[in-house]
Amino acid sequence: MFSRAYRTMVTVPPLAWVAVFLLVPYALMFCYSFWSVSAAQTIVHSWNFANYQELLEKQVYWQTLLRSMWIAARVMLFSLLLGYPLAYFLSFYAGKRKDVLYQMVIIPLWVSYLVRAYAWKTILGSDGVLNTLLQYLHLTKHPLEFLLYSPFAVVLTLTHIYTPFTILPIYASLEHIPRNLVEASHDLGASPAQTFWKVIFPLSIPGVVAGATFAFVLSLGDFLAPLLLGGPGGIMISNIVVSLFGAAYNWPLGAAISLGMLVIVVSLLFISERLEKKWSHS
């Protein structure tokens, strides 16, 4: 259909882009993760598993990884709890306002991540909007300290940022449910609640899985929210990677952690895809 030259012209640039900016860096990281740093802060190109051994042995890495997963899991849960009802409302009950409301879900994505994270800082800080309001209403005497620089702040901010990412796939899967199935369910005597749990929810699971994966994976790798709002107790695994590549100047160890994370994330994506396939019926 298309000439060979045309096909080459169209396909080579994106492939080259992926190769140069994705595959090559991964390969470099892979190599680095087996190297080490000398006392004089130079990279020693000798191949060994020392970095991986350190990861397995030192508790701080494990604890941080687990904390990151716990934060990501909560973000996922809250995003789903907020996102599902909204997606459901949009798809089934919004009627003519559907398009406008859909845009309102999308618009926050245009605002810079940093702006939104800073916004939470102003809201949650000890002189922030929330604490001022609470004291003004005499609900508290002193600023609540746990609001900012805590895992709570990180979970709150990430939930705010990633909820649209759960709404969109859930909304898409709800939109794909033929409405005559809902009618058929009512026709067979199922109440609206029974219809939701027996027909609508099971058929929306692929969207839920996709949304959950977005929220979990994106939160797991996040480093800005913990950096700006997390405080010492809210450090996540990516913060360790950042400091290893920066101030600590231990690229090999940082590369080893990154590769470990990559394996975890790819496994999750694999499982998620399997689950989505299992629950899709088209």
Partner: protein, 364 residues
């Protein structure tokens, strides 16, 4: 409409008077914004009856069915079932089940689970569910496919499952929305016969929607013919064919010749043809079926006209022959296979076979 009042529907009245009325549709109208979809529909459906709502696309037949099922609310009028108000109940409380045009089987459930759905949501005991599902699947010959997902079975099989899923709940009334339209011609004819015998067997009242007049004729006890949101005629298939109330009915059901003319002093005059009639004086419109026209045999009392053969079409056991009379009046007659050899013939019919019909009013 007025035609229902002016022309006697003797068969219909005796048929429905003998049985008790299950569903009563009273003055139902439906508008979507500026569009009037149904206007002033009144219809009584008897217990155990097979009633077909027949109409072209856009006649409002599916909307009427959806109002009975509860998926749409009538703009005015009301529905009564067994002397209880039906239209104020939500669809899931109505003792009505539907077989959807596209079947609407739940894709995430197996055939068996689909059929069990209505009993499950009603919290029937497991042993009863198992037994009734088994019976329903046996009845539609789908037991062998019980564990399959709907996507793994053919359209005809899905149709049977949809039927079993509805019937297993033993509804008082089963609504069928063009359930055969997705099937090919042979399977369709087979299912028409099966559906009809199944309906007799289970004794459930069927309201069947179709645009196919042949299907309606084969299956129904009565046909309600809808045209642009109004009932044109409600009668048995034979009556609707033999005594069409309006020109529209006559043309929609089977072939017909419409003869337009007038009656004066006991003689009907339509173009070059005239015959004796007892109708009052005034303009008149007659429906004359092609099978009631024949090549002249000189029978006394028949109305007769000379004509020229235009075309002949082979229809298996019969031929349809188009002839042109003087003043350009074109008639279609059904002749035994073999057609007409001559070019100029005389054609005739019994005056009693020219059925007076009402003009169908133009509606927007």
């Amino acid at each position: 409409m007025s035609s229902l009042n002016t022309l006697p529907n003797v068969d219909t009245q005796t048929a429905s008077a003998a049985k008790t009325t299950l569903l009563s549709i009273r003055n139902v109208a439906k508008t979507f914004g500026p569009n009037v979809v149904l206007r002033d529909i009144s219809l009584e459906i008897a217990q155990g009856e097979f009633l077909t709502i027949l109409g072209e696309s856009g006649s409002g037949k599916t909307t009427l069915l959806r109002i009975i099922a509860g998926f749409e609310t009538a703009t005015s009028g009301d529905l009564w079932m067994s002397n209880e108000r039906l239209d104020q109940q939500p669809p899931y409380r109505r003792k009505v089940n539907t077989v959807f045009q596209s079947y609407a089987l739940f894709p995430h459930l197996t055939v068996e689970e689909n059929v069990a759905y209505g009993l499950r949501v009603a919290n029937r005991p497991d042993s009863e569910i198992k037994q009734r599902v088994q019976e329903a699947l046996d009845k539609v010959k789908m037991s062998a496919h019980a564990k399959k997902k709907p996507s793994k079975i053919s359209g005809g099989q899905q149709q049977r499952v949809a039927l079993a899923r509805a019937l297993v709940n033993r509804p008082q009334l089963l609504l069928l929305d063009e359930p055969l339209s997705a099937l090919d011609a042979n399977l369709r004819r087979q299912m028409q016969v099966e559906l009809k015998s199944l309906q007799r067997e289970v004794g459930i009242t069927f309201v069947f929607v179709t645009h196919d007049q042949e299907e309606a004729m084969v299956m129904s006890d009565r046909i309600a013919l809808l045209r642009r949101g109004e009932l044109e005629q409600v009668a048995t298939p034979r009556e609707i064919y033999n005594r069409p109330a309006t020109a529209y009915v006559a043309q929609f059901i089977g072939h017909t010749n419409l003869l337009r003319g007038e009656v004066r002093e006991g003689v009907a005059q339509c173009g070059p043809i005239s015959w004796k009639t007892t109708l009052p004086d005034g303009p008149a419109l007659f429906s004359l079926r092609p099978e009631h026209l024949r090549v002249s045999s000189g029978m006394p009392g028949a109305a007769r006209v000379k004509a020229k053969v235009l075309t002949q079409a082979f229809h298996g056991a019969t031929d349809l022959v188009r002839v042109e009379c003087a003043d350009g009046l074109v008639l279609t007659l059904r002749t035994p296979s073999g057609g007409i050899k001559e070019e100029n013939v005389g054609v005739e019919f019994e005056p009693a076979d020219a059925i007076p019909v009402l003009e169908s009013q133009e509606r927007s």
